[in-house]
């Protein structure tokens, strides 16, 4: 049916070398560095006509998705957002909010266990966000 294995990582030339700026000790930044490593993308110091990626402070929001007739929450939605500002080599600057959504069911009788589930989901959402950032970078530097 025409599918074949992806030959190379098909990274646009502009992404061969990038510079990365992020808040100190940012978990998502270290995961993004691993992902760059995986795609043979070299992280170098910021310089002339080198694509510069700025990760801003990531944040987690929560919103109610569905309620029970008693007024108790049935499902929450977690909204993980990491704003990314990309300075492409030809000088234009794009700021985009990478957003990953997850819903999870509320269980008011197990507050501590639900907190652990929330931490687990945030961990998974960060990996998802890293893939989304890669998609954004390829899209912005696509010739």
């Amino acid at each position: 049916c025409g599918f074949q294995l992806r030959g190379s990582y098909q990274i646009p030339a502009q992404l061969a070398q990038v510079s990365l700026e992020a808040p100190a000790r940012s978990e998502i930044a270290s995961r993004l560095r691993d992902e760059f490593d995986r795609y043979d993308i070299q992280v170098v110091a910021r310089g002339q006509d080198i694509t510069h990626i700025e990760l801003l402070e990531d944040s987690l929001d929560r919103r109610v998705l569905s309620l029970l007739i008693s007024g108790q929450v049935a499902e929450y939605e977690l909204i993980y957002t990491v704003p990314v500002r990309v300075h492409t080599a030809n000088g234009d600057i794009q700021l985009q909010d990478i957003q990953v959504l997850r819903d999870y069911q509320e269980d008011p009788n197990f507050a501590l266990a639900k907190t652990r589930e929330l931490e687990l989901l945030v961990n998974e959402m960060r990996s998802d966000a890293v893939h989304r950032i890669m998609l954004l970078l390829t899209q912005l530097t696509w010739e």
Partner: protein
């Protein structure tokens, strides 16, 4: 999001005498003088060296970004004072004024104008005053103080609203102004007298407390909230906003914020001495402390604690920090340690329940560490070690408590290539409990050790092919995944349940190693998970569609259970989980996710949403949610919802949402609002119906009766026009339980 050009443009209408060609830059650089130079021009000048110089005829003064125009003036070199009378026009970067006379003291950098009309540049704010005193404070930001002044942002001679005050003060770099002895006049009729209040002058919005607002609601009656802002120091401010509620009384609301390089924090307090709507007239309060500090390169600390006086507080008064429907307040204090390979965290966690729920365990303390070697680029070994030491304690003073120590070394071999990747992982989970739990009413002490291995094999292919659809060229990707998981069975029924609960098995859950959260239940597993994700990308590499599909095939039952066998797994496949995200066009979006049980042919869980989105202020969305057996209970959820916002014209906009519970055929939350926004004021009228739950005095564990509803009309009057942007609509969408977002702290 650009404000609607029409409305903002006509609102900011500077007065006729205002000339925008003000430029103060013409003197100093030309003379490149170190000391700020004062340049005065006129048709005629008479200079007495070292004494006075008198000017007449079209006199203009320029000094430190201040410029003045008048007919007659005198400058005294000794005192550095420039006095002009007989009509002056004054301009500086912040304010433009036309007045009777002015005295500028070039040494003290002050200016005093009399009998003036003024206009704040770049905003719609203007007014008149008997006297305006301008002084530059230490960091040369100008401080304006008006005496016997009026202030409005409405165009026209009889402004819709106007503030008249004995004194109004504004600081150039502070987003707030404050008025003393103020009187608010509507259509030139004095309406309310307020001794002191503050109002935003520029558009740096402070979250939460904004303008003096007037609201009405069924439960609290008419509400008037008047914020008063204290800028105590550059990095330290406080806001007090008494909140008058006709049904309940006057509540004091206060917030203190501080921000330094190493630490930042915020303290909030809301206190109502006696709530007249309650028989016992009891006091109602909410306090909250949030503090974050960076001790050094590796250590940081964080505290987030809050408390309410009673379980209905948030439901009755709402909060900027807690959603009305939340079931508990999560409180914690923690210290984080991070370095290249090590991460550690010590924390204390506690809950305040906002309903009749089972009393949770608190962790006093919880210490966990994570260590992992560098992930190799192409292939190689990764060694990691997670460990945790936690002491649990019941919150309701019951004697139940437990100490758990857990170590989890893991070794993984992985290989990665552009077209495929696989990894083999094996871990050893060693856990020891010293627990004292009530069995019946007998406190039994147990010491339990559980050790079990875990093996996981995961592989993935990355396939691609060009695709062509309706004239657009693009690429389709297909990523099939397979995972084999084996964990032997251990009887864990004697271990207490402290932080474990069944995890949701949607598409993301298929490839997880664990069926339960936390560590108290490590489910046995002998299964293979198969799944695939396919995406369509157009030529500019934008993802138009993403479809994921997956299912788990069980080779044997999973006998680990939480409390009873309902959490065991007996059938030979999991539900089929699928997720679809489809960008139909630049404005139409559809997404859906389903979990289908192909043994029972039933839809266990499904959600879908169709959205038309022009921009943040113009969108319509229809959504549907259906869920069978919420968190292992028998309750089902079937809910349909619609939300929308539409900017009908620069002035008129409508917004609303409506959520209906199909199973109990009841409207859970609905709001329909119309907003009229003119230059200087906006009014929002909305009809609402929202859940009004009352959990006070209900025993834990009993089934909850259906909640009552609070329906009514809410009117909100907002002073606007102080800033260029118009955020009205987004605010309307956020109201109501479903719109509200509660921000969480991410430690690193």
């Amino acid at each position: 999001q650009e404000p609607p050009i029409g409305l903002a443009a006509q609102c900011i209408a500077p007065p006729d005498w205002y000339s925008s060609d003000y430029s103060a830059a013409d003197i100093a650089p030309a003379l490149s003088l170190a000391v700020p130079a004062l340049s005065i021009q006129a048709d005629h000048a008479e200079v007495l060296w070292q004494q006075q110089t008198s000017y007449s005829g079209n006199v203009t003064l320029n000094y430190q970004q201040q410029s003045l125009r008048t007919e007659r003036a005198i400058y005294d070199q000794q005192t550095g004072r420039f006095e002009a009378s007989g009509g002056i026009v004054y301009q500086d970067p912040q304010v433009a004024a036309r007045g009777e006379s002015v005295i500028t003291d070039t040494l003290a950098d002050t200016a005093e104008l009399n009998q003036l009309d003024y206009y704040l540049r770049g905003t719609a704010a203007r007014g008149s005053a008997d006297r305006l005193f301008i002084a530059a404070n230490e960091d040369s930001a100008r401080q304006l103080s008006f005496q016997q002044a009026s202030f409005t942002t409405c165009p026209g001679n009889t402004p819709v609203w106007e503030i008249r005050a004995r004194q109004i003060q504004m600081n150039e770099d502070e987003g707030w102004g404050s008025a003393r002895g103020a009187q608010i006049r509507l259509f030139d009729v004095p309406v309310v007298y307020i001794p002191r209040f503050s109002f935003p002058v520029t558009d740096e919005r402070k979250s939460g407390l904004l303008y003096p607002t007037v609201r009405s609601s069924g439960r609290n009656g008419i509400e008037i909230e008047v914020p008063y802002y204290f800028n105590l120091a550059p990095n330290y401010d406080a806001t007090i906003a008494p909140r008058l509620m006709t049904e309940r009384g006057v509540m004091g609301v206060g917030e203190v914020r501080y921000l330094d390089t190493e630490q930042a924090g915020q303290v909030n307090l809301e206190y109502l001495h006696n709530d007249s709507s309650r028989q016992d007239n009891s006091a109602r309060y909410f306090w909250r402390l949030e503090h974050e500090a960076q001790l050094n390169q590796n250590w940081s600390t964080y505290i987030d604690a809050s408390q309410v006086s009673d379980v209905n507080y948030i439901n009755d008064f709402g909060s900027a920090f807690v959603n009305r429907a939340d079931s508990h307040l999560y409180r914690r204090g923690q210290a984080n340690y991070v370095n290249a390979r090590w991460q550690a965290q010590v924390q204390v966690e506690d809950f305040q329940l906002l309903g009749p729920y089972q009393n949770p365990f608190r962790t006093i303390p919880r210490l966990n560490t994570q260590y992992a070697t560098e992930t190799p680029r192409r292939q190689g070994w990764v060694f990691d070690w997670d460990s945790e030491l936690t002491r649990f304690e019941r919150q309701d003073g019951s004697p139940e408590q437990a100490t758990r120590i857990h170590g989890e070394p893991g070794i993984t071999y992985m290989m990665r290539r552009p077209g495929w990747e696989w990894s083999a992982e094996s871990r050893l989970l060693m856990t020891h409990y010293e627990q004292e739990l009530l069995e019946g009413d007998l406190l039994t002490r147990r010491s339990i050790t559980r050790t079990l291995p875990e093996f996981r094999l995961h592989g993935q292919l990355n396939l691609e092919r060009p695709f062509e659809f309706a004239g657009t060229q693009g690429i389709q990707t297909l990523q099939p995944q397979a995972q084999f998981l084996y964990t032997p069975y251990r009887d864990q029924r004697e271990i207490g349940v402290f932080d474990s609960v069944p995890l949701q098995d949607d598409y993301n859950g298929l490839f997880r190693k664990r069926r339960f959260s936390g560590l108290d239940r490590i489910a046995d597993a002998h299964q293979v998970t198969l799944g695939a994700t396919s995406s369509l990308f157009n030529q500019s590499a934008e993802e138009l569609l993403r479809l994921s599909l997956g299912q788990i095939f069980y080779f044997s039952d999973s006998q680990t259970q939480l409390f009873d066998d309902s959490t065991q797994v007996e059938d030979n496949t999991s539900e089929l989980a699928a997720e679809l995200d489809f960008r139909i066009s630049s404005r139409w979006f559809f997404n859906s996710s389903v979990q289908y049980d192909n043994q029972l042919n039933t839809m266990q869980k499904s959600r879908s949403a169709l959205e038309y989105r022009k921009d943040e202020n113009n969108l319509i969305q229809l959504n549907f949610r259906q869920l069978r057996g919420l968190t292992g209970t028998e309750t089902d959820v079937e809910q349909v919802g619609a939300l929308g916002a539409w900017q009908v014209s620069p002035q008129w906009s409508v917004a609303g949402h409506w959520y209906r519970d199909l199973r109990n055929s009841a409207t859970l939350d609905a709001n329909f609002g119309v907003q009229y926004e003119s230059c200087c004021w906006a009014v929002r009228v909305s009809a609402y119906r929202r859940i009004d739950r009352n959990f006070e005095g209900i025993q834990a564990g009993l089934p909850l009766s259906p909640a009552e509803f609070d329906t009514g009309i809410s009117l909100q009057f907002v002073i606007a026009g102080l800033s260029a942007d118009r955020s009205g609509l987004a605010g309307m969408l956020q109201q109501g339980i479903f719109g509200y977002r509660r921000p969480f702290y991410l430690s690193h």
